[in-house]
């Protein structure tokens, strides 16, 4: 009884520490951005260092709690193993990154590591096996991004490979239809041996590259016809594969890049109108679309079947209030597929809803840094790539967080950096790597250091 009480007291107090950590992290990020603007290099570096400390404290605090709450020595050792592995991963990655991405955006990197660490702690708590795998995906993702600077040194003109992006994109997106596997009502997976893989995650990037390469050539409406057909094709395929979230992400990416390159309000609202018509048509034609909307409007009616998932999510978020139950003291595993689509609900349940708001703000910080990079970029193609990537992160976060809190109908997309899953984790990190390359290499190469305010 009394040992249990001590553990409970520690966990309850830790809620406040976690909350303090995330808001100190955000505050340091904000301050660092300010100092960067004012070119106060030392203060900037100090804040960046503080942020890294917060990530590491978060990591150890999280794993210590999981360890003291473990049932037996065996599982304690397992948790400690992942905890040490994770610590090693974070520290080693940060060191390597600051060597290889010398001119990278440190606030952006830190934010991503903070989120990945939340993901790792949460997965360890929900499903230890997935945490171990996720750590491998994270390492693979970071490992891949460490190669980018060299690739960017070799290949100078990414805008020239438009046709290649298009063809490769189609090959990937059609592959699940030929040898795919259905999961959670969406047929958008392929299996290579034991290794499940979601091609639409990779195609997202190819799609951005393709659109950016097409839109920089924009002069008249004629130049848009082919990209429109391409985009429509992708979206149609995704709807057929029942990946509604994917379809929405592709469409909004198309819309944003179109608007930025053409500045045309008519085209913007024209596409939006077209999409509204298309979604009404989809609502009429496809039963799975109707079901999603009905469950969103009234999940309580079918609480034991179709509405089960979303209502369980609402219980998780709503039961414990602002500070949450405390790590390990909630019941997030009552939500089906909690470690992928619904991981945000689990975070809100155990770390508290204020912490959840902090997570949303970190995503906003990431999007903000991505947009800053895009604005400072002097060539349209790379600028569009930057916006496209920031857009993907923004839209995906909005769709899944909005979905699990029942603000909008649920579309099964992953929460970048946090949700369990190889394709999602690796592609999310690759996207950040690309953003960093835009900042640290492309600009330096083309413009020389003197034209760019960077530290």
């Amino acid at each position: 009884m009394s040992q249990k009480s001590i553990v409970e007291i520690i966990i309850l107090i830790s809620r406040n520490l976690f909350l303090l950590l995330i808001f100190m992290f955000l505050y340091s990020g904000y301050k660092a951005a300010m100092y960067e603007r004012k070119k106060e290099r030392d203060m900037y570096k100090k804040k960046i260092f503080m942020q890294r400390c917060y990530v590491i404290i978060l990591h150890f605090l999280g794993f210590i709690i999981l360890i003291i709450n473990s049932k037996n020595t065996e599982s304690m050792l397992e948790i400690a193993k992942i905890g040490m592995g994770g610590a090693f991963f974070i520290i080693f990655s940060i060191i390597l990154i600051s060597i290889i991405y010398k001119k990278g955006d440190a606030i952006l990197w830190n934010s991503v590591f903070f989120l990945m660490d939340i993901g790792l702690i949460m997965l360890q708590r929900l499903d230890p096996q997935s945490a171990e795998k996720q750590l491998i995906w994270y390492s693979l993702g970071v490992g891949l991004t460490l190669l980018f600077p060299f690739i960017f040194k070799i290949i100078l003109n990414f805008e020239k490979f438009k046709v290649f992006y298009a063809i490769l994109g189609w090959i990937f997106i059609l592959s699940p239809l030929l040898f795919g596997k259905e999961q959670f009502g969406a047929k958008n997976w392929i299996l290579i041996g034991n290794f499940g893989f979601q091609p639409s995650e990779i195609v997202k990037l190819l799609f951005i590259f393709y659109l950016s390469a097409s839109f920089i050539k924009y002069k008249t409406f004629k130049d848009l016809i082919f990209p429109i057909i391409m985009s429509g094709g992708y979206i149609l395929i995704l709807v057929i594969q029942r990946d509604l979230g994917g379809a929405l992400i592709y469409f909004l990416t198309f819309l944003v890049l179109l608007y930025i390159s053409t500045s045309s309000v008519i085209l913007f609202f024209g596409s939006l109108g077209g999409a509204s018509l298309a979604s009404m048509l989809a609502y009429k034609l496809f039963n799975h679309v109707r079901v999603r909307v009905e469950v969103w409007l009234n999940p309580w009616k079918e609480i034991d079947s179709k509405g089960y998932q979303i209502t369980q999510s609402l219980f998780a978020i709503g039961t414990w209030g602002w500070l949450g139950s405390g790590l390990t003291l909630g019941y997030p595993t009552s939500i089906p597929v909690v470690n992928t689509d619904f991981i945000f609900s689990a975070i809100c349940e155990e770390f508290g809803n204020l912490f959840g708001i902090g997570v949303i703000l970190i995503f906003l910080l990431i999007v903000f840094r991505g947009i800053i990079i895009s604005i400072r970029c002097n060539e349209k193609f790379y600028s569009l790539i930057g916006v496209g990537i920031s857009n993907l992160i923004a839209i995906q976060t909005f769709l899944i967080v909005g979905g699990v809190i029942k603000m909008i109908p649920l579309t099964g997309v992953t929460l970048p950096f946090i949700s369990y899953g190889g394709s999602s984790a690796i592609v999310s990190i690759i996207m950040i790597g690309l953003l960093q390359c835009l900042k640290s290499f492309y600009i330096l190469r083309k413009e020389g250091e003197k034209n760019f305010e960077t530290i």
Partner: protein
């Protein structure tokens, strides 16, 4: 390039709006919606909490314990010290949850000062304790009401019209919640008495003459020359092939709206019903929450009013005097009467007064809230005047008490189950009402002589306090 950058900034503006709408929605969900959804039985957190936490106490407004959890041997059991008198309203936890036990389930299991309680339990080894729920009910009035019901099937509701506080709610046949496990099967088999039903909120009965409050309101609203209305009552008359009789076949002679009300003259009201028509009556009834959800958070049944413009003519006549297909719960009648007493305004009825934490801190205090204006103030006042006359010189004289003006309306409702149901609805003091009382005795006979005296004793009890 300049325009290009401007576009990017605009798009970022959209992202900022999207992200902040997420945060706002989450905050709104937590503040406004979450407390009512998490008590759902599909939420596995509550039953998990139950194993580790001592459920809080339920108490009446003066501190009388109505439900508590105590250790018996080495098992924790829920005990109801006031027994069967509170069985329906407080509810039980042994066989599913009902009443306040169900509605306040989360509050009773919610632990305040969790860290302090944990530190304390380090030394004492005690389990954590949930919050206590303090009700608006008054155990004195509740026991009196239960005694007055005197083992007759029926229900009593007592409400404070100026706030909406429910002071008492009794239903009989009842059961002893402390013996629930032993008598459960027997209670469920007893279809004749249905003791598990809370008749005050879930029982639906023909209103009989208490419905004349509704009809009179419709007349005052729609019949401009109501002051000139006269009718010669012979004790019986045929309207649209439907013979209407006054109670006991009594001829009231020439009546106007006033005297038809206090004598409860059926033929007079039948005529008034024909005059104003089905649609006007339906409009008033629906404004008074017939066919609607009631502002009440525990289990209840919706009242029923079926008359509409397609109904047969004879149905208007029956409905106007509270017969026909209309059905109402005692709680709903208490709401209507309460609005009359309170100048037409219905305060939202409530039963949870506040939550008290383990350390005596009060939180979530319910603030009385206006629900709706059911009657225009002038019309409410006219109905009060007529209801005073009912007790002074009409059918409700048995509810009168010395030195205090009582307002009331009796009802004697014909029904298919045998003897008439006896109704009394009223409040006292008439022009400064402290309490609304609704009494229903199933198959009790005449409202005036059966339900009226019970109301009188309750008024006495409440006003002397």
């Amino acid at each position: 390039m300049k325009q290009f950058r401007k576009n990017i900034k605009r798009v970022f503006g959209v992202y900022v709006v999207m992200f902040f709408s997420l945060i706002l929605y989450l905050v709104k969900f937590l503040i406004l919606d979450s407390s009512s959804i998490i008590i759902n039985t599909y939420n596995p957190r509550l039953s998990a909490l139950e194993e580790n936490i001592i459920r809080g106490e339920i108490r009446d407004s003066k501190g009388v314990v109505l439900a508590r959890t105590k250790l018996e041997g080495d098992t924790w059991i829920r005990e109801y010290p006031e027994g069967r008198d509170f069985a329906h309203i407080v509810g039980y936890v042994q066989k599913g949850k009902t009443g306040v036990e169900a509605f306040s389930n989360f509050k009773l299991l919610e632990v305040s000062n969790k860290i302090i309680q944990n530190v304390k339990s380090l030394f004492t080894g005690d389990k954590l304790k949930g919050n206590n729920v303090i009700l608006t009910l008054d155990a004195d009035i509740q026991h009196t009401a239960r005694e007055l019901l005197n083992n007759q099937k029926g229900a009593i509701v007592v409400m404070e019209p100026s706030t909406g506080k429910i002071l008492s709610m009794v239903s009989y046949p009842d059961f002893n919640p402390n013996e629930l496990n032993e008598i459960w099967e027997q209670l469920n088999k007893d279809e004749k008495n249905s003791p598990l039903i809370n008749r005050a909120t879930q029982g639906l009965y023909p209103p009989g003459s208490v419905f004349k409050i509704v009809t009179a309101s419709a007349v005052l609203e729609n019949k401009e020359d109501w002051e000139n209305f006269t009718y010669n009552c012979t004790g019986e008359e045929e309207f649209h092939e439907k013979i209407i009789r006054c109670y006991g076949g009594k001829a009231h002679g020439e009546v106007n709206l006033d005297s038809a009300f206090y004598f409860s003259c059926n033929t007079g009201f039948a005529k008034l019903g024909v005059d104003i028509g089905a649609e006007n009556l339906r409009e008033t009834a629906e404004r008074l929450l017939f066919n609607r959800n009631l502002p009440y958070e525990l289990e209840y049944s919706k009242s029923q009013f079926l008359l509409d413009k397609n109904s047969e003519d004879k149905e208007i006549v029956e409905t106007a005097i509270g017969q026909g297909k209309t059905l109402v719960s005692p709680l709903h009648m208490a709401m209507i009467t309460s609005a009359v007493a309170n100048g037409g305004i219905l305060m939202k009825p409530y039963i949870i007064d506040h939550i008290e934490t383990n350390y005596g801190k009060i939180k979530d205090k319910t603030i009385p809230k206006k629900y709706a204006t059911l009657f225009q103030p002038e019309i409410a006042n006219q109905i009060v005047d007529m209801m005073v006359e009912v007790v002074e010189k009409g059918t409700g004289t048995k509810a009168s008490i010395p030195n205090v003006l009582v307002a009331g309306k009796t009802g004697t409702a014909e029904n298919s189950s045998g003897e008439d149901h006896a109704w009394f609805v009223g409040f006292a003091p008439a022009y400064k009402p402290k309490a609304v009382v609704v009494v229903l005795i199933e198959n009790g006979g005449s409202g005036g002589s059966k339900a009226g005296p019970i109301a009188r004793e309750l008024f006495k009890k409440i006003l002397n306090q």
